[in-house]
């Protein structure tokens, strides 16, 4: 070889044996995966951790309700109606039928969390899939999917939820279905936007150039990048879902009595507002605390996930 190729420091000649001291001298940084790095950033975010712990406590309390609840949430008492805090061992008093408030609130968390998470989960899967398909497919499929979603978008979410629940009748399952329908278009749009952004990037083209099928490309290169925005949006929807579910129950379209549901409790205790204002406020406080904690945690996670580099 008469032509001496100049190799800058840090690069090894391509055809030479690899020798450790010759190779790129970049400092050996600790390499983290994406989710690892998100967790790493969250570690110093005390706000998010604090509110996350509250959410965790609520979730644990809901799961372990039979172990924690001091009384049977359905046990009524004629004499013990609307009693104040601490009355005969009822830490948070009793409701209008003499049932223990604390137990009902703990059990109510189960339904509220289910109503908060299930519709979001369903909407994420269904809407996310439709969005990725819509984003990746051609103009016709995209138009068909997105314009259908726009029809749902035309209604305010609470109105749509009320309308669907009203048409299908009350009950928890119908409530979940109606809320899923409410969230799916928004989820679909987020996924579609994220997909469309990724779709035209060079690495998708490079993947196609290496002979990958569309399905393989979606699985390996699109989903991972769509997951971030979708996850962030979904986490912010949880609190909305809890609120909407409570609203439905409040209107009598969601969970039916005597199930302990926060929205329903708020609705029935409303009539005792002048007798027992504090007890009346408890379900509202539970809804408020849960949804705001979910919101703040999702905000923190969003911040940790947004950072690049």
């Amino acid at each position: 070889m008469n032509e001496r190729v100049v190799v800058a420091p840090g690069a090894i000649p391509a055809d030479s044996e690899i020798a450790d001291n010759e190779v790129d001298l970049a400092p050996a940084i600790k390499v983290r995966g994406y989710w690892q790095s998100v967790l790493h950033r969250l570690r110093y975010d005390w706000m998010t951790i604090g509110f996350g712990l509250v959410v965790l406590a609520i979730v644990i309390a809901a799961i372990a309700a039979p172990l924690i609840a001091p009384f049977d949430p359905y046990q009524q008492s004629i004499v013990g109606r609307l009693k104040p805090f601490g009355w005969r061992g009822h830490p948070w008093g009793t409701d209008e039928l003499g049932r223990d408030m604390m137990s009902r609130l703990i059990y109510g968390g189960r339904i509220s969390l289910l109503m908060g998470l299930a519709p979001v989960l369903i909407a994420t899967v269904v809407g996310g899939m439709l969005g990725v398909i819509g984003g990746f497919a051609g103009r016709v499929a995209n138009t068909a999917i997105m314009r259908t979603m726009d029809v749902f978008y035309a209604f305010p979410s609470i109105l749509l939820a009320v309308a669907i629940s009203g048409a299908m009748g009350g009950g928890m399952i119908n409530g979940i279905i109606s809320l899923s329908l409410v969230f799916t278009p928004a989820m679909c749009r987020v996924a579609e936007t994220a997909t469309a952004q990724v779709k035209n990037l060079d690495y998708i083209e490079a993947a196609r150039a290496s002979g990958a099928s569309t399905l393989t490309i979606i699985r390996h290169h699109v989903l991972g990048n769509v997951l971030g925005p979708v996850f962030i949006y979904a986490s912010s929807l949880v609190s909305v879902s809890i609120l909407l579910a409570s609203g439905l129950s409040f209107l009598g379209l969601g969970v039916q009595p005597p199930e302990p549901d926060w929205g329903l409790m708020l609705s029935t205790l409303r009539q005792s507002l002048y007798v027992d204002p504090l007890g009346c406020a408890l379900p509202g406080i539970a809804i408020f605390v849960t949804s705001i904690c979910f919101n703040l945690v999702s905000d923190g996670v969003r911040g940790a996930m947004d950072v690049r580099g």
């Binding site: 190729v5 190799v7 690069a11 690495y203 490079a206 290169h221």
Partner: protein, 350 residues
């Protein structure tokens, strides 16, 4: 296998046509893009009748201003953009035609390195997985693909244990572009299209990557189509040069020839616009004024005539052709001045 074959220094088993068969022949490739929103049927003539031959083992540099169709041409060659018309012959086989080579096979043998090293790597994927993706979709097992990725990383000068598990945002521009090259090579291509592959890098890193490309070409027996707007880079790396203007080839010839004796006024203007290291040699008058005309409605006749200092009526009336080229040493230009019989007053002087 006979003894005669074994004695040969290196024969790529995929080399069907032999050394004399060009790697790639493009004939009258054409791709027009419909203009969105214009109901009049207006089209952008991105690539308009481009023909050239890419010989085995050479580097063909493609130069031209922004928007002249260089990148569209690259995507046409890989069928990432399907040509409207024209013919593509890869190693003697027509691409995408009955009895020829299908697009999937073509893509196993022709790979591309993109300009934007950031958007051409999946930000959510460790680079070793990005590199291993190609072999994996071509039927290798996960561990095998990972092994190939590590081998290629060594070839492009990055330590696999150190750089393999990293994410793109943890790499510098030069390192990312090395990874991009590795990704292209992982499939084991015979030809690599480098679309402005070094343009986004700063000069010192650019030189490193260029040297790397030269080495890889030698060791892996590659053929390059090197697209760039940087004439100095093209001169450094190319054996032959193809000059494009508004979707057409205006000049084609050996790099040394084209750079020393450019025949097309556009090429001369491009060469005149190069910056010099010599402080005494300043560019006094701009070699080219104005923007190229719109590719939606290109000028009649010669497309360069609106900016050409030698434009005459014949340039408006007739479109000059590139003429015939025979082999690697042919030097042709699509200009009336190069044809004695064209009727141009300066004909034959160029």
């Amino acid at each position: 296998m006979s003894a005669a074959v074994e004695m040969q220094p290196y024969v790529d088993p995929r080399d069907r046509g032999g050394a004399a068969q060009p790697m790639l022949i493009a004939r009258e490739l054409q791709r027009h893009f419909r203009v969105k929103g214009a109901g009049t049927g207006a089209v952008v003539r991105a690539v308009d009748g481009v023909s050239f031959t890419l010989f085995k083992g050479e580097t063909l540099g493609v130069v031209g201003e922004s928007g002249c169709g260089k990148s569209t041409l690259a995507r046409l060659l890989l069928h990432l953009v399907v040509p409207d018309s024209g013919e593509l012959v890869f190693d003697g086989d027509a691409v995408g035609e009955r009895g020829g080579v299908n697009v999937a096979d073509l893509r196993r043998q022709v790979q591309m390195v993109f300009q934007d090293s950031y958007s051409s790597l999946n930000p959510r994927m460790p680079v070793q997985d990005s590199i291993a993706f190609g072999p994996m979709v071509n039927g290798r097992s996960k561990t095998e693909a990972r092994r190939i990725a590590h081998e290629i990383l060594v070839k492009v000068g990055l330590r696999p244990d150190l750089f393999g598990p990293r994410y793109p945002h943890e790499l510098s521009g030069g390192q990312k572009q090395r990874v991009n090259i590795a990704r292209a090579l992982a499939v084991g291509p015979r030809m690599v299209i480098l679309d402005e592959a070094v343009s986004a890098l700063d000069k010192s890193v650019e030189a490193q990557v260029l040297n790397l490309l030269r080495q890889l070409k030698r060791t892996l027996n590659l053929t390059y189509l090197f697209i760039s707007h940087d004439l100095n880079v093209v001169r450094y790396i190319s054996d032959r040069v193809l000059v494009m203007y508004l979707g057409q080839v205006v000049e084609l010839g050996p790099a040394a020839e084209v750079f020393a004796r450019a025949r097309h006024p556009y090429t001369r203007a491009l060469l005149g616009s190069r910056l010099s290291m010599d402080a005494g040699r300043r560019i006094e008058a701009p070699p080219l004024v104005g923007d190229p005309p719109s590719p939606i409605d290109p000028p009649s006749g010669c497309r360069f005539r609106t900016r050409c200092p030698h434009a005459e009526s014949v340039c408006e009336a007739r479109m000059p052709t590139l003429g015939h080229w025979e082999d690697r040493s042919s030097h042709v230009a699509a200009c009336h001045m190069t044809r004695p019989d064209s009727g141009h007053s300066l004909a034959g002087s160029a």
